[in-house]
Amino acid sequence: MTQKTMYTSAFRPLDVQAIREDFPIFTETPPLAFLDSAASTQTPRPVVEAMDAYYDTYRSNIHRGIYRISEEATDQYEKARQKVARLINAPRTSEVIFTRNTTESINLVAYSWGSANIQQGDEIVLTDLEHHSNLVPWQMLAQRTGASLRYLEITDQGLLDFTQLQDVLTEKTKLVAITHVSNVLGTINPMQSIINAAHAAGAKVIVDAAQSVPHFHVDVQQLDCDFLAFSGHKMCGPTGVGVLYGKLELLDEMPPFLGGGSMIRSVERDISTYADVPAKFEAGTPSIAEAIGLGTAVDYITQAGLASIHVHEQELTKYAHDRLQKIEGVTIYGPAPHQKAGVISFNIEGIHPHDVAGILDTHNVAIRAGHHCAQPLMKKLDVIATARASFYLYNTYEDVDRLSEGLQNAQKLMTRRNI
């Protein structure tokens, strides 16, 4: 059933220097070592130019204008949807819904599908690795309905503990909500086996793909997931646009999420009939420029090649592991490099991660420090917070070197203290 598409790229090494020339933010000297793409990526010129072209030459609302530029805007917005559908190999373009971000996509499912399908006594299965965006909406749904949450835990290596799977999945399980890649540990979860097991138990599966779709090829038909959510701003696109993929038969039966313009077929005083998907879930004027920008971002990362991006990130991750492990007092959390994506969470003994990030900033090295919107995972790791470096297609070995040197400097500065 899986079709080969133009987006299934053969591997060729990334031309990182050429890529960096598309990102004006890297032209300063010394260049910014941007190691926080797991939070939000940088934007290449073609994406900004595509949005500028909308604002400068055909700015108008979509799906209603009779005039030429409105048709053009509608056409470009829908082309962006087609690009996203091809990227994830969705069988139908109408199964791609534009939202604001991953969080909104997950909330859409929690409210719309959740309210219609989850009842008291049902169970929703999550994992230790979930970001708050794939945790809080399910807590709220459980509180509304009287359902309960169960957790698949991680091992000491930061991998999901499959020995628990048969205990956690029961006849009460109605939904498994799971991240594809951990935003903290980088763990790449074996989605295929989890989805198969969940389906065998009669449960639906929603995949938080915010950290996977930008970094390697994700095929929703191959995974056979029921829902999949991701954000534009983590894949070279703008902020303000995200995606929910859902199987058509599920989307068709779900009640609307937000009511308003665009999502209706006809409105009377007391009752309305709703439009077909995807319009049913896109009430109000959407982020038009941003969706067009996302379409261009899809072009950009697929032209670079998702397989090439993945290999590049794995090489950087392996190199960074080697460099960081040589620094005394550094603890790296999570699995070995070959089992994870380009995300490294770590701590240096005796130095608060905020201080680590603060000192690195004076070296023009940007990393994240904090709980990474994953407080239950921090508790599990028994840390208050971690420092986190994450990679994307524009990062270089030199960025890793500067991270490593900055950390050694931080250590020199701070290790006078050990109380």
């Binding site: 608060h352 603060g358 904090g370 203290r417």
Partner: protein
């Protein structure tokens, strides 16, 4: 490297008034949910005068050094004077420019004091209620 200048690091390494008090008149603890920094302030107060103060907790250099500096600043002063301390007073005390996230690290100790003494919930310099 002015962000971690000597005075701050000295306070972080050898904090003043670190610890707790056995029978404090005021004892209050808060954390900064952004980073998990935690500070507790214990005070002995006599007729509005702060006779003794101790802080405890954990966190980054800025939050712990600011707490240490603040205890030195307020010992022997009145609670009313503490109430009047502003965001700018803390920034002057720290003496280095800070971005908005780190500003909260610096302000946490004062926030804890004002909340403990007066029930003021907001961050100093923002909406103090």
């Amino acid at each position: 490297m002015n962000i971690y200048q000597e005075e701050l690091l000295d306070h972080y390494e050898n904090p003043s008034n670190y610890g707790t008090l056995p029978n404090p008149d005021i004892s209050h603890e808060e954390d900064n949910p952004l980073c998990g920094d935690k500070i507790r302030m214990d005070l002995i107060v006599d007729d509005d005068f702060i006779k003794e103060v101790r802080f405890s907790g954990y966190g980054c250099t800025i939050s712990q050094a600011a707490a240490s500096m603040l205890t030195e600043k307020i010992e022997g002063k009145t609670l009313t004077e503490v109430k009047n301390l502003s965001r700018d007073d803390i920034m002057d005390m720290i003496g280095i420019p800070l971005g908005p996230v780190r500003v909260k690290c610096a302000l946490l100790a004062l926030k804890v004091l004002k909340a403990g003494a007066y029930g003021i919930k907001g961050w100093p310099g923002e909406e103090e209620e």
